[in-house]
């Protein structure tokens, strides 16, 4: 009897299932960033809003990257549903703190999948996930740099506008 499963699908059920969960997490991140962007836009933090809009697009691109990888490996992914993102924030700083927390959650999930690939000797997916490991280092680092600005400038209205100006430089 032919090995149809292996002929059609190049990754295990377990790895495929983890990647599908990651799709959902990336989509949730994208929506969370969109929500942060809207909040900042309404409050007049234009550059922060720009940063979050850009992040939202990037997270969606990450989702698509995984989506296309699953299809390439013979897995038919379903379109993930996402939990509703937080709509309100105490301050612009708390929006960035939430952004860092989201990135940390994504990093941890990526690391779990990477480790799972190693255990399963799935070298192809491990290689694919390496890009995400590096990407997450960058994402976390950027979020930390922005939070450091709030520490350095303070939280009065003028300082917050200065921070918003600096965010444009960080993300340029």
């Amino acid at each position: 009897m032919k090995d149809l499963i292996r002929q059609k699908i190049a990754i295990s059920d377990e790895i495929a299932s983890s990647l599908k969960k990651q799709l959902q997490l990336e989509l949730h991140s994208s929506n969370s960033y969109l929500s942060m962007a809207a909040w900042c836009d309404i409050k007049g933090y234009t550059n922060s809003a720009g940063f979050f809009y850009k992040q939202s697009e990037e997270e969606r691109e990450h989702m698509l990257k995984i989506y296309k990888y699953l299809i390439k490996m013979g897995v038919q992914p379903s379109v993930p549903a996402s939990k509703e993102a937080t709509l309100d924030f105490d301050s612009v700083r708390s929006a960035f703190e939430e952004a860092l927390n989201t990135e940390i959650a994504v990093t941890e999930s990526i690391h779990r999948i990477y480790s799972q690939c190693r255990m399963a000797n799935d070298f192809a997916t491990e290689e694919f996930m390496r890009w995400f490991v590096n990407e997450q280092m960058e994402e976390e680092s950027t979020a930390r740099d922005i939070l450091a600005l709030f520490d350095n400038f303070g939280s009065d209205a003028t300082s917050l506008m200065l921070v918003d100006e600096r965010i444009k430089e960080i993300t340029a």
Partner: protein, 122 residues
């Protein structure tokens, strides 16, 4: 439901797994999988089989049993043939058993190919 592939199935169906009223087959000529489900035969590919298994295991049997406001039935669809199944709890359990057995056998077949056939290529 034998349709146009009937002759091919007749020539090369290999049973993968069976339960009391259901069975799964693989045809190496058409590279297709077949499910005999309560008297009807359906042709499907690997992805559809995986999707159908997920749907079966996503059914919450406990709530079906405990919900006194509705009949203990679940409606599931099989994409490739536009077929809707109205399944009782017993039937869902039997189909789950079929899926578990089928995938265990397919994985066993994969291991055999890996360790006997493919490993001898080098």
């Amino acid at each position: 439901m034998f349709s146009q592939n009937h002759k091919e199935i007749e020539r090369s169906p290999e049973q993968i797994y069976s339960t009391n009223s259901c069975a799964s087959y693989q045809c190496d000529v058409s590279n297709a999988l077949y499910l005999d489900i309560f008297g009807e035969r359906f042709q499907l590919n690997v992805c559809t089989l995986i999707s159908f298994r997920k749907k079966l295991f996503d059914v919450n049997l406990e709530s079906l049993l405990l919900d006194s406001n509705s009949a203990p039935l679940e409606i599931l669809n099989l994409h490739c043939v536009d077929k809707l199944f109205v399944l009782s709890i017993d039937e869902i359990i039997e189909l789950r058993n079929l899926m578990e057995g089928t995938f265990a056998m397919l994985q066993l077949n994969s291991i055999i190919h890996q360790s006997i056939h493919r490993s001898t290529l080098v």
